[in-house]
Amino acid sequence: MAAALVISALGLLGLVAFITALVAGGLAALAAVGGLLAMFVFLAAVVLSLVWLERKYLGRLQMRMGPMRVGPFGLLQPVADAAKLVLKEDVTPAWVDRWLFWTAPLLLFLPSYLLWVAVPFGPGLVLRDLDLGLLYIVALSVVGIVGILMAGWGSANKYGMLGSLRSAAQLVSYEVPVIIVALTVAMMAGSLNLSQIVEAQRPVPYAVVQPLALFLFLLAGLAEVGRTPFDIYHAESEVMGGPYVEYSGAHWAVFYLAEYVNTFLVAVMVTLLFLGGWKGPGLPPVLWFLLKAYLVVGFIFWFRGTFPRLRIDQLMALGWKALVPLSFVNLVLTSIYLFYGWPWWGMSLISLAILAALGYGIHRQAAARKPAITLVPAVEVRSAR
């Protein structure tokens, strides 16, 4: 098994090197490989920290301690988990389609890893500052879905099948609002380059100018990575892990890794597009960046601790009937705002007004539902004899 791991790792590296060579136009390939490796190590550390953070945070939300045995404050728990997963037997069920089954984790993980090439962590702190960075990230993030589909279909498992059907429907639908909102931001900044987008948030971050867009992006982003309340395609109480149901050991770990990397990506994108990236007083830029990203991640975990999951039809309805129209409305509003050159607070007022109207509508709906049960005194029932 170790040999297989080594070989697959080498193959992975080769593939990575090749794609890097393409990206770098065959010039600084070596340096790029070094950068990619560094990025991998960094992402692995991020994932470990996220796992720890999530378990600890959820534990606190639920009045538990969370992990506390391995290492101080349970800090080494994720490391132990990772070691366990890698050493675990990797089961291949008899009926799986081996080709699809084994390539699926790679196909999911590779794009979600490669898109970090274009993510700036600070001024100039980026592997390749692509002019089309935003488009690059959006485009690559779609490819991973094929990996999920392959995993579900190749597992020859009905839950996997259901899960991958769900994931295809869900992820493709939510790609639309994500792209439209990203487009809105690109319009405001006048660039698709992520560094320039961050620089463009000069007087105020876009979170203030475009609260509605932030809301839409965060919601659609949650759906895009399948976090609660949108963790429908791998809902453990319904389809028991969906596409991942037959995976175990190291291959399952790859899925897990990809999922957390994607979650972090959503947080990072929110940070870059709306929270002004690495800008902030006092601290070094990278620290600001990580602080903001982890805050958003914390928000995502908070969601997970609070909400049940939606049903697939409700999710699709929310996507197509609420998020997509709203994101288009926002796009049109933004173009009007840009065309007439209104002051930024005009836009934020409009955006806030729409958001408030939305909130009020939801609240009204909830309030209207309140009376459901009536109390019949037992004395009455008894005397009716």
């Binding site: 769900r166 809902a235 109480s237 909400f307 999951r309 539902r369 009536t374 005194p377 037992a378 008894r382």
Partner: protein
Amino acid sequence: METARRLEPVEINVNMGPQHPSTHGVFRMVLWVDGERIVQVEPYIGYLHRGTEKLCEGELYPQIITLFDRLDYLANFNNELCFCMAAEKLMGLEVPERAQYVRVVLCELNRVASHLMFYGALGLDAGAMTPVMYAFREREHIQRAFEAVSGARMMHNYFRIGGLKEDVPAGFKEMVRDLLPGLEQGISECDRLLSLNEAFLARTRGVGAISAQEAVEYALSGPMLRAAGVPYDLRAVEPYSLYDRFDFDIPVGTQGDCWDRYMVRVEEMRQSLRIVRQALEQMPDEGPVMAAGVRRMPRPPKGESYMRTENPRGEFGVYLVSDGSERPYRVKIRAPSFASVQALPRLLRDCYVADCVVVLGSLDIVLGDVDR
């Protein structure tokens, strides 16, 4: 092939259970689904069938109580009570007041514990992780009290035909009384956490609804029936033990959907605590806990009795036929979950796969109860 072939949608059948995480035990159902929509459901039970009814025929009366503990393993006291009362009814025994009050207190606390379990499990089924933690925190307090009384957290074996195994420990009243405010607060917390959560409402409102008439036809009982709008609670309709002495309300739903079933149970917890409070006030401090003249091996006279109690899951019935010996001739157990499960195909009409687990969760079945 020359013929242009229409691509037809596939109806796949999915086997859910007996090892599926959200079937509440070893329960299996086969779903025929068209995409995400359920076309047909067939429940399969029996994975936990232990032949309790048959076993009872070979055991002495006091031994049977332990078997009843293991039926509905979330409502042990309620089961014990029903069996003891069936025998008492046959023997014409008058159980001392103090014992009766203790029974009521323990049964109502058991109901709260069981509903808390339901609350947590339904939250998990709907995909929320936190409710189950809240529920288990409260449940823990109740189980500690049970342990103090009977020595066991779940399989109590505490009630006896004619009374109790022994008197409750000193300070029982205070212990339970101190428990109540915390429990009330905990239940309110649970209520606030989940009841009006938008996503939870979306998942449960209008899902798996059943009308009052159909609910009666399907022999549903307990919270299932009350959620459909029938104020049928045996504690009020046909009061047994001391239930005619307490003042409480029966929560009744309107739609008979999952949310009503949930809300009925949440409200029932509060009402149970009300009953506990009253029972503690009325309970005599001293007195026997065993009816006079009951032999160690009771021999009910030849005859038969049907006793039913309001269990957390609905109407729990024991049909006891005695031939005058120290072993019952026949014990038939009417299990509330058994009736609930058979309505599952009806409840899941026009539902989605995801509703399946929520509706099953809202039935609140215990497989020990279904399979017996």
